[in-house]
């Protein structure tokens, strides 16, 4: 709304009666946009719920390949970035431009840290072939080492029930009973570093890979990928805001744009809170 050269108070557009009407219009518009984002991500959450409800064994089996500690770290990083952007909005309202620039840069750093951790996780999946459906060639499988403790071990998974020919005689299909679904206890701690080879001590019962385990990784990459794109877009907007702040656009207290960006960023954090729970903490 404000023309960049303008450093006085917030600028009133010609078609509004007063500043409050203008601010509330921007606010309502932003909340409606956040509603569309909720429904946009909602499609993926629906795919998650449908596949998890109908194939729970896939999610119990496959989520153990995700590193809980990196997930938790990322959640903390995003929560901190939510804090810094909320404080930045406060700084903009109080016309503390230097503090605003510092806090926006801090949020930017935290966001890039978040993407860095995601890169590490993605590279691990890439190396172990744990990718989406068409490129799912796992080179790691779970070995049940003692009660309730599953551990990642390199080496191709044994042909689980999934490989059995799907073209058996077309009689009404017997439901795939739970008999051969291994009892996967939740891992006491996150899987040991994916890279380290498993000490071959004693006999270990290999956890059979359930049917269509690749669906979990498809949903994982779709959800975290789309979320990552939203983080990238957020980082781009932060650079734009820092540039505007540098040129003094917020000196006059016209904080609307920082406030709107803050709402967008909090929603990105809010969606990650659910992603972390649904993808990493399945049990």
């Amino acid at each position: 709304m404000a023309s960049p050269a303008h450093t006085g108070g917030p600028h009133l557009a010609h078609h509004f009666a007063n500043l409050d009407q203008q601010y509330q219009s921007a606010k309502l518009g932003m909340w409606v946009f956040l509603a569309t984002e909720v429904l946009f991500f909602g499609g993926l959450f629906c795919a998650y719920v449908v596949y998890r409800a109908n194939h729970p064994e896939v999610f119990l089996y496959a989520h153990q390949f995700l590193d809980k500690r990196l997930g938790a770290l990322n959640t903390a990083v995003l929560i901190c970035s939510s804090f810094t952007i909320a404080w930045a909005v406060r700084a903009a309202q109080l016309k503390q431009v230097r503090l605003l620039i510092l806090l926006l840069s801090l949020t930017f750093l935290l966001a890039s840290g978040f993407l860095g951790v995601k890169y590490i996780e993605y590279r691990q999946k890439w190396e172990h072939g744990l990718l989406w459906a068409r490129r799912y060639h796992p080179e790691v499988h779970l070995v049940q080492e003692g009660p309730g403790h599953d551990v990642e071990v390199p080496g191709a998974a044994p042909p689980g029930p999934g490989a059995q020919a799907a073209q058996e005689a077309p009689v009404t299909p017997a439901a795939d009973g739970d008999a051969d679904r291994s009892r996967i206890a939740d891992a006491a701690s996150g899987p040991v570093g994916l890279a380290e080879p498993m000490p071959a001590s004693g006999e270990h019962r290999v956890v059979a890979e359930p049917h269509n385990a690749q669906v979990f990784f498809s949903i994982y990459f779709l959800m975290t990928g789309l979320h990552g794109i939203h983080v990238l877009v957020g980082m781009g907007l932060m650079v734009w805001l820092i540039a505007l702040a540098w040129r003094g656009a917020f000196a006059g207290g016209n904080f609307t744009r920082v406030d709107m960006f803050g709402l967008y960023w909090h929603l990105v954090d809010l969606i990650w809170i659910y992603l972390f729970l649904l993808l990493y903490l399945v049990h």
């Binding site: 629906c46 809980k68 929560i79 799907a166």
Partner: protein, 111 residues
């Protein structure tokens, strides 16, 4: 306690921000430790409860929902209502047609 901008918009105090921030970090720690105890079928719901609690904290305090026009909150909740409708009906149907789905059918992956 609550300051106001020139045009009357509420400014959240730093103390509130820090308190909510700490609460969120504790919430994250709580979610992770909750996975170490097995509450049986309740696990999912406990996790969701904690996550929703954290989400409410972010929405109410960080996103000013508590001091803003209630209609904005109503718009946000409507989105979740329609999402629940979509997930609910799609889940109801998919759960009821699993008996005719060929288990593990993925011919492109079998070769």
């Amino acid at each position: 306690m609550s300051e106001r901008t020139a045009s009357g918009v509420h400014i959240t105090s730093l103390r509130t921000l820090v308190v909510v921030w700490i609460a969120l970090l504790i919430g994250t720690w709580l979610t992770v430790t909750a996975t170490y105890f097995d509450f049986g079928s309740l696990n999912l719901w406990i996790g969701l409860a904690i996550a929703t609690g954290k989400a409410l904290l972010v929405a109410l305090y960080f996103m000013h929902m508590r001091w803003d026009r209630p209609f904005n909150a109503f718009v946000f909740l409507t989105a979740f209502a329609f999402l629940a409708l979509f997930i609910g009906l799609a889940l109801m149907d998919s759960a009821h047609y699993q008996d005719v789905v060929i288990p593990g059918y993925a011919p492109a992956l079998q070769q």
